[in-house]
């Protein structure tokens, strides 16, 4: 299985992620790019801070890619996640999936980001003008 997983505190390179899954036998690549939004529920966000349980997060990201390989006929999967302080518009996550046919690429990519958000031990703190909130921490 052709899996590339990275957690980095440096800016992510979208084309490097795409390049990791480009194959001559792939007809379609789906790429999801998660960026830092300037507001949440109508409130202006100044910046985000991402913290990861790095060793476990790498394991979980790899496990998600393995599950996607088991579910769909895909050629390669790359999952790159950023940590540290991110400004508005910066890229927090890039997921690229290549496949012979596009349906598998779309479905595996969607599965990967949905599952990452549920399972991977990474935490996001939203910093506002008047305070900070760990996202999803409280009901």
């Amino acid at each position: 299985m052709d899996i590339d997983v990275i957690i980095s505190d440096k800016p992510l390179d979208i084309m490097a992620c795409v390049g990791q899954v480009t194959r001559p036998n792939a007809g379609g690549i789906d790429v999801f790019i998660g960026t830092v939004r300037d507001a949440t529920q109508g409130k202006a966000v100044l910046r985000l801070e991402f913290e990861a349980y790095q060793s476990m997060a790498i394991r979980e990201m790899r496990r998600i890619a393995e599950q996607a390989f088991a579910k769909w006929p895909v050629h390669a999967i790359a999952i790159h996640h950023r940590t540290g302080v991110l400004q508005i518009g910066e890229v927090a996550v890039v997921i690229a999936v290549s496949a012979a046919h596009r349906a598998a690429a779309f479905e595996a990519c969607r599965f990967a980001i949905d599952t990452l958000k549920q399972m991977v031990p990474i935490w996001k703190k939203e910093v506002f003008e008047d305070g900070e909130v760990w996202v999803a921490a409280h009901p």
Partner: protein, 80 residues
């Protein structure tokens, strides 16, 4: 036995640091440790949820603990 525990995200703030040591009975389970942590740090009980990881994998309540395990408090994740 002593268990070394990693805390992340809001759990780090609630527990007052990114590592802590907790004393548990020998042969304690992850579920018992979770109970003990909730008593010691009541604000953990106010989270949407929290899980324990043992050796970098999510732990079921009956997972047995040993002194050499890497245990982590995993508050609700929010990556991506």
């Amino acid at each position: 036995m002593h268990i070394n525990i990693l805390a992340f995200g809001i759990a780090k703030e609630i527990c007052g640091g990114s590592t802590l040591q907790v004393e548990v009975p020998d042969h304690a389970t992850a579920g018992e440790l979770k109970q003990l942590l909730t008593e010691q740090y009541p604000r953990l009980g106010g989270l949407s949820s929290f899980l324990l990881a043992v050796n970098e994998a999510f732990a079921a309540p009956d997972t047995p603990l040993s002194a050499r395990d890497e245990v982590a408090i995993i508050p609700p994740v929010s990556g991506g």
